[in-house]
Amino acid sequence: MNRRRFALTLATSVVALALVVAIAVTIGPAGISLAEVTRSIAGHLGLPGGGGVPLLTDSIVWQLRLPRVLTAGAVGAGLALSGVVMQSITRNPLADPYLLGLSSGASLGAVAVLILGVGFALPAAAFLGALAALVATLSIARVGGTITPGRAVLSGLAIAQLAAAGTSFVIFWSAKGDSYREILNWLLGSVAGASWTSVGIAAAALAIVGTGLVLASTRLDAFVFGDTAAASLGINVNATRWALLAAVALLTGAMVSVSGSIGFVGLILPHLVRGLAGPGHLRLLPLAAVAGAAFLITADTLARTVFDPRELPVGIVTAFIGVPVFIALIKGRKSASWA
């Protein structure tokens, strides 16, 4: 993909994302038109053409639906970026924050803070949980200095199960009436409780870590033939790898602290977007972020409308879409060497 085609693709996909956001806000039990949505948003941003929307409609748009849609978008973008970086750094097509246990670790960290009242801010605790899970997964998977993709996924599974059990235990221990729903939301992921605070946390993490990752795209490119090749291309392999993995843990932690652990976004989006953007991270990362945002907003819109008035945790929808892609990835692999 040359420079001009990339610029055009990125611009088109950003416009498409804006449209997805606006349309997602119109969808719901209370019928709200696209015009009302734009007028309400414009009014709050102080743009011309804003205002003149009934008070109830305005507060549904601004207080309920928009924060939820934007949170879903930022979380989807963050998880897709995390997946791209993990797949490149570990050279593992199955690497993603959910399969390798980071999301569950982050959930456990977040829940521990919420319920036990440990003195950390929520995203910081989720970050520490994600980082601990990542370190545990990679050290279990490592045999004689190398980590095969299959072993990484198996170790991730073990860590994810442990952290999920820990999360459920902590919630049960402090049981209240709605514990089941709370457990489900952390384990399967949900943005139903999104507020402007969640938008702020997710968007800030996305902007800061995402910028850092884009600036590291050359280094990510250099890992395509492995650690030795990266070193021979002038990369400080160990420092770079740990910095990037810490960045992924930070990003995943922030996302999980507002949404619980949502699976498969980080796994499938990188593969789908790589087909379009090519292997270069400078182009892959921004496009994956936009696609991840659009994907999770769409999934969450389905989750809250298909069985209306009941609402599904969004992780159920991403699993229904993601698992078939996961199976196709396993089946489509030509070599058996990674298992």
Partner: protein, 274 residues
């Protein structure tokens, strides 16, 4: 000038991999690095590349200690072709060669995103004879073509030292010969020095100006193919019986192995049924 190795030693987990290896390698030559499996060839290449650190000793490239160079500086001078390299995602030949530009480009915006190095990439692909394969995906290339693309990547890196770890592995005879003659030709044309770990003694004798022979982590012989490839040396290192004769056309040494067990078999058949 060239490469000077002084007293390199390395042990990993108490096992000695290399022990006090010293050698001087002439600039502008193709050097063969020989030795049985586990002799320390790959490790020595990694130490020369500055990717691994020795316990003792140093590698000087044109009188500069490789170990003291920042990684990026080392990468501008030394290119390494690994054994059995395979990318983790589908790459075109063009993308692979573009990787070689990373040490020369901006740290931030220099990866596959670079469109400015198209000429360097095209020239390198053309130089190794696969100019028409630029858009082909890596996994659709033959083993010989993949190695040529890797050499193009190394050329695009503009090094003064080219390190190759068993570049002829898994190639058929014709691809082995044409690959090593390509290495020779590029070394001559670009004034490089190349060090290639090789298994095949006859290939080494045919294509290398100078040989280093490792055995169990120690340098046991160094010099021209005629000096190194003597029956007594080969018998001591590899434990095989052989004769060395001059090539009928090239004059370089040819090693003719005496297959173990076959002589006894033949002696028996001469005796005939009793």
């Amino acid at each position: 000038m060239g490469v000077t190795i002084t007293g390199l030693s390395l042990s990993i987990d108490g096992r000695t991999i290399l022990e006090n290896v010293s050698a001087a390698v002439p600039a502008g030559a193709v050097i063969g690095l020989l030795g049985p499996n586990g002799a320390g060839k790959s490790t020595l290449l990694r130490l020369i590349a500055g990717i691994a650190k020795p316990d003792a000793g140093a590698v000087l490239l044109d009188n500069v200690a490789v170990g003291s160079l920042p990684r990026r500086e080392a990468a501008r001078r030394i290119a390494l072709l690994e054994q059995n390299a395979a990318p983790s995602v589908d790459l075109s030949a063009h993308d692979v060669v573009l990787l070689g530009r990373i040490p020369h480009r901006s740290r931030v915006l220099g990866g596959f995103g670079g469109d400015d190095d198209r000429e360097v990439v095209a020239e390198a692909l053309h130089a190794v004879g696969v100019g028409d394969l630029a858009d082909r995906l890596w996994h659709t290339l033959s083993g010989g073509q993949q190695q040529r693309v890797q050499i193009a990547r190394a050329i695009a890196q503009h090094p003064s030292l080219l390190l190759l770890d068993e570049p002829t592995n898994h190639l058929d005879v014709s691809a082995q010969l044409s690959l090593l003659s390509l290495v020779r030709q590029q070394v001559r044309a670009r004034g490089l020095t190349a060090i290639a770990a090789l298994h095949d003694l006859n290939l080494a004798a045919a294509y290398c100006d100078h040989l280093l022979l490792l055995d169990a982590g120690r340098l046991v012989a160094a010099g021209t193919p005629d000096e190194v490839l003597r029956p007594s040396v080969i018998a001591a290192v590899y434990g095989v019986d052989c004769d060395v004769i001059p090539h009928p056309r090239g004059g370089h040494p040819v090693i003719v192995f005496s297959p173990a067990g076959r002589e006894a078999e033949r002696a028996e058949s001469f005796r005939g049924p009793s």
